[in-house]
Structure formats: structure tokens, C-alpha cells
Assembly symmetry: D3
Homo-oligomer: 135 residues x 6
């Protein structure tokens, strides 16, 4: 498969998987670095996400972990909280994943990621997340 | 001591130690992840901060260092610049601590943390920080 | 549940979930910071990992992502590659998860994490990982 | 050369090399940590940037790489995208440098840095960056 | 151009540009994640490094900056100190680049990267680096 | 004060404050980047550490926090665990400081820093650190 096919396939997958948040990032890059948009799409949703070794839901869960551990990745977290919801993860599962991160990368990154998730949940009328237990 | 006691103790300590900045973070988490609020409070102010091995002032100084080195932790820095002031550190000592960080984690993190401190100082009418020497 | 119960529960879960790698870390901490061992165990396997909101397999997959994104966490990666295998993830799924991280945190962290996984696979006679496709 | 000479030389070099973005940072620090301003200027443009071992253009290219790899350094990136333009790098070269970073530090840091560059290009009427090829 | 061509082109370029350090990494990945090797080569030397917007020397200088800023990337630094030498950068220029990083990402990352460079210089009989001035 | 005086003063202070670990780093840099040694010493112990705004003990405590939050800084942590002991911090206080970091930057960085401290304590016959309480 050549790179253009990979890009086209990735773009279609991205538009199905994610949503306005991803499109806004691609639009913002259009007049400065279409090359970066092209690779971001071709390499993620065009190449890796379609591989059968992991399910889409697993991949989105994993990406939430990678981005939270990395830090300073709010725009991508916004894309992938949307991607996670679209892959079938519930708000409660997403919040639980970010809760778990606190042990490995600490309170600031866990809280920050949770507040990005909250923003996405609010846009999609998913608040309040039904609290599971207070402790 | 069970976890609920730890949480209650931590919440009381936090409300005394820090201030509106901490409360705003807890409020923001209330409808998305009370579980994360609970652990942030129970594990920090409820468990570790009350241990006698280090004084409160030492702990707040240390936390400024950890957060500055970590980076991308503005909301927590805001909480702990307040916590540092409330534990008796002066604005000049706080600024000096952030100045020292420049050697270990570089200009961007030191400058960013200093501008978060400035925001807190402004809210508490502590500006200008009396310059000690220009060099 | 009080903290000691949480620790005991966590220790039992950890010993089942992970293996020698985790025990070696706890042993290494024993004469310098049993307090840190205690919290690492009580907060992860004692508190969060037993919550029903995410399956053990999901949690271990997620942790691989968090640690890879964070970087400089080889000892914990070693523990959790073992934990992931013990939770039912296959070597191929683990390698695929680390492959995906390359898009979000770059080649150095993805390669480094993959070489830690290789070390664990070698100890458990799981090499070579059956290549799925060359591209 | 003593430190004050280094600072004066650095300030002159900075004002020539960079622009309003640098001055805004120095102004923001003036009432909270002139000591940090002083060292930021003396150690970078006053000491290192004037050394003959690397050309100014090389240094600004390199700094874009360091800041992108570091992450969470938007204000300094803004200064140094300006510095890079003033040292003769074209928008296309700057965008290409940030594109290359995607392989080493991942999509989030590359995209974020590119959007900071876009902001500077917009202020200097340098948009759209003439796309070189779509792939 | 399809992905396999990109990989073949990248592999040829890598073998010319870098050296044993790169080959050792590819060999180490061979039985665990040839997929990761494939993408590391195809995306860097196969895709980006051959683009005409930046010279090879510029790209290697930039990569030293990205990796130093990122941290915890010793194996890749070793590859790219070799790549930088092979692209025509002198040991003195490489050391100067790492010296400059101290202002932006601090002493630990600058020192660590410099010691990786020293290891490569030693293997290639390039020590001592002729000191330029003591200050 | 000019830079050479600052360097000489810093070197004297460093040799008093720290120990063999610092000297080993300076020696390792001698044939590759004496310029980096020079600045590391002049900017830290020569310039900042002698400022009266914070006591030496406070500075060493703070540096432990910065380096732990930053991550991937083992060689400097080794220098500053020694520096902290020499400034009067007890092993128990140092261990407690690293324990506190777990809340802010997570288990991997806290454990790693604690194991670096253990190495220094072992060299100085300070093990076992008298455990204060198990929880």
C-alpha cells in the first residue's frame, strides 16, 4: 500500500473514529504544515490503528495512557477522549483509566487529563459521570 | 486509620494549608472524578504531609521543586505557591527556589513556574517581590 | 477498609499478578524506604487495581501505555510487562501496544520499552515474538 | 568578562535576535524575578550564543529542537521561532524542523510546536507557509 | 512511493549515515518487533531525512537537540552522534550544541548527552575534543 | 565578580558541599566538554547556591525535588544526595522527601530516586535507614 492510500484510509478512519476535535487540529495545520497532518493521519489511523493485533477499544484505552504519561498533550487527549467514547469506552471507564494513572505519573498529570475528559464529556452531554464509589 | 479518616483529615489540612486554588480544583473534579479528588487529598495532605519527618515548610518548598522539575503542572503549582506562602515561606524565598531550578531543568520551566507564582502573588497583593539584587 | 488491609490485599494481588521483578523492587526498598514500598503496593494493587470499573487486562495494557509515555521507568515496565502477561495479554499484543506508542511519544521511548519487554520475554522463554507482518 | 557585561551584551543580542516575544517575557518577570531575567539573558545570548563554534542560524535551529523535545515550553518556542526567522531560517525550514521532531518525540509535541510557529508566522504575515509537497 | 520502497531507501540511507550503533538497535529489535524497526527506518531516513527542505547536517544537528531535550534517549543519541559526525559535524560542534542545551533543559540532560557523545568519540578515536576556551 | 571568580568560588563550594560523585562527573567531562563543567559549577555553586535568600539545607532539599520531578537524572541525584547529607539533612529526611514525590510525579520516579539514595547511603555506611513507621 502506498502512502497516499494509507493517508486516505487513515482520514476516513479518523473521521469515523474521532470527531470535531481531530478535524479542528487538521484544519489548524492546513496552512502551516499539511505535511505534519498527512503523517499524523497516515501513521496512526492509516497504518497502526487498522492492524488486527489489538482492537480499536484497546488502542484508544492505551492512547489515553500514553498521552497522560507523556504530559502536555491536551489537544491530542481531547481527540482521543472522543475516540475512546466512539470506540465504545464509557465515561466511567475513561475516568477510571485516568484515575489509575495517578499512581504512575502523579496527581498533576492525572488531574489535568481528567479535566480535558470533562471538557469533552460536557460537549457531549455526558456529565455528571455517575460516581461509582467515593473511595 | 482507615481511608475515610485519612480523607477527612487531609481535607481539613488542605483547607487550612492551601486556599481557593485547591478548592477550585476539587470543585472542578466533583462531577467527573470524585475518586481522584479523594485520593489526591487522602494521599497528600491526609497521609504524607502530616508525617513528622519533615516540617510543613520543608514539604511545600520541596513540592515547588518537584512540580517545577516535572513541568506542565500549572494548576498544582498555583495550589502549592499558595501552600508555600501559608506555610511561612516568603515570596522572596519562593522566587529564589524557582530561580535555582533554572540550573537543573532549564529556563522554560523556571520562567513558567515563576509566572504562575506571580499570578498568585498578584491575587494576594504581594507584588512587586522586593528584588534582592539584580545579579 | 484501613490502610493495612489495603496493603495486605495489594501485596497478595501483586504477588499473583506480577512476579520476581516486583518482589526484587520491594526487596531493594526494604532497608531504605519500606514506607514507599507500602504505598506503592497499597495504592496500586491494593486500592485501584481491584476496582471493578476496568478489567485487570485493561489495567495492565493501560499501565504499559502510561509508563512508556512517561519515560525513564524501566524497572516498573519490567514489572508490568510481567503483569500484562500474567493478566492474559500475549507477547504479540504487548509488542503491538508499544508499537502504537511510537506515534505519540516517539521512537526512543517506544524502542526502549520494547527492549525492556524483550528482556522479560527472554526470561520467560517467549522469544522470538512471532512477527505478524513486516509492515 | 564579568556578569554585568555579559548581561548587557546578551540583552543587546537578544533585542537584535528576537523581538517582542522576548521583551514581553522579560517585562513579565520584572516585578517578580529580575534575577531570573538576568540569568536567562546573560547565560544564553550573553555567553553561549556569541561563541564562534556554531553559527547563529545553527543555534536557533538547535533550540527549536531542544524546546520541542522538552515540551511544555510554548513561551520560549515563540521567542525562538522569532529568533530563527531573524537568523535567516525560512518558515519552510522551521516547519520542516518541527516535522522531523515527530519521529523522535511524537505527534503531540510536533503539532503543538507547529501551532506556536503558526502564531508567530501569522503575526509576521508569513502565512500560508508554501506547502512543499503533500507527502 | 509505497512503504516497502520507503523502508529500503531508509535502510540504505541509515547504513550510510549512521553506523554500528544503529545496526545494533535494529538487530536487537529483530526477534521482538521488526514492525517497530521497519517504521523507525521508513519514517526517519526513508521519508523525512531525504526531503530537500533541510540539509542532512541540519537534520542531524536538530536531532541532537530534540533527543537532548526529550531525555532518557541514550541509545538514539548514540546513533545520532554517529550520524552527526558522518554528516560532517565536528566533535567541537557537537559538544557546543550539547553545551547550548544546558540553558533550555538544564545540567542533567546536557551532561548526560555529553557523556553519550564522549562514548562515541572514544570509539572513533576523537578524544580529547580540543577545548576551545575554558569559558 | 567575573566568571572565573565565580567558577573558582563554585569549585571550592562544590568540593566542600558534595564529594566524589561530583568530582567524578567533572573528571568525566574534562576531555570532552570542560566548558560544560565550567558552567555547571559557576552557575550552581558559584552563583546561585551562595545567595543568602535560602539556606544551603533548603537548597539541597529543593534540588532533590527538582531532579526527582525531572526524571532521568541519576548522576546528579547521586551528587545531590551527597550534597544533602553534607548540608545536614538526615537519611530519614531525604527518604521522606523522596516519599513525598510519589504523589506528584508517581511511583517510578520516586522509586528510582530512592534507589539512587540507597546507593549513596550504602557507600557512606548509612544503611539501613531507620524506618520510622511502616505506614
Amino acid at each position: 500500500m502506498d502512502s497516499d492510500e494509507q493517508y486516505e484510509r487513515g482520514l476516513a478512519a479518523l473521521q469515523q473514529a474521532a470527531n470535531g476535535a481531530a478535524q479542528r487540529l487538521l484544519d489548524a495545520l492546513a496552512d502551516v504544515s499539511p505535511e505534519l497532518s498527512y503523517r499524523s493521519v497516515a501513521w496512526s489511523y492509516g497504518d497502526l490503528y487498522v492492524r488486527p493485533q489489538l482492537a480499536r477499544r484497546d488502542r484508544e484505552l492505551l492512547t489515553l495512557g500514553i498521552l497522560t504519561g507523556l504530559g502536555a498533550a491536551d489537544a491530542q487527549l481531547e481527540v482521543h477522549v472522543n475516540g475512546a467514547l466512539n470506540a465504545g469506552l464509557t465515561p466511567s471507564e475513561i475516568v477510571e483509566a485516568l484515575l489509575q494513572s495517578v499512581v504512575y505519573c502523579g496527581v498533576p498529570r492525572a488531574v489535568n487529563a481528567t479535566l480535558v475528559a470533562k471538557k469533552v464529556f460536557a460537549e457531549r452531554n455526558l456529565l455528571p459521570v455517575r460516581p461509582t464509589t467515593a473511595g
